[in-house]
Amino acid sequence: GESVGLHLPTLSVQEGDNSIINCAYSNSASDYFIWYKQESGKGPQFIIDIRSNMDKRQGQRVTVLLNKTVKHLSLQIAATQPGDSAVYFCAEKVYSTLTFGKGTMLLVSP
């Protein structure tokens, strides 16, 4: 079946660097995408979302880019901090339910 997947299972960066986490999706009916951050022992925490009629959306230190042509989603984190260390999931919404990818672990070293 169609699913959401991530290219990189682990990303290691230095504090202060910019981080880019990628995600591929395959369901052309998806109209809404969300990035979640999950810290150890906690539930997923909403970071930023984007609708399918947009290409880019910016938040505080985070930017999501959506390329519908190649069905690709990315999360950019500016000036990455140790507190950003977590597993990041992209999720796509189809008919009011969310489908998650496997996640990318972001490791930030000081």
Partner: protein
Amino acid sequence: DAGVTQSPTHLIKTRGQQVTLRCSPKSGHDTVSWYQQALGQGPQFIFQYYEEEERQRGNFPDRFSGHQFPNYSSELNVNALLLGDSALYLCASSLKGISNQPQHFGDGTRLSIL
């Protein structure tokens, strides 16, 4: 403003037993979704409740059932537990009628089957 709360936080059961997990949605939300998250994996959708009825269901067997109460809280029941049911069970809430909004998650119940 209380977020999504789940209980218990941890639970240990043996094969064949039954379990009930509980969830209270974020204040103002009326829709509850349940997810199963195996170790190292993303959450997998189990089902969604709105107006006390199951509205959507993922690819899970009938051993998984649920309920939603008039105050919007919800329960997830799993019968005849298998070792493979060991996972983190997450509850998420949202407000029906508002499309394209993020679901808010609780911190989950860690279920271990011995």
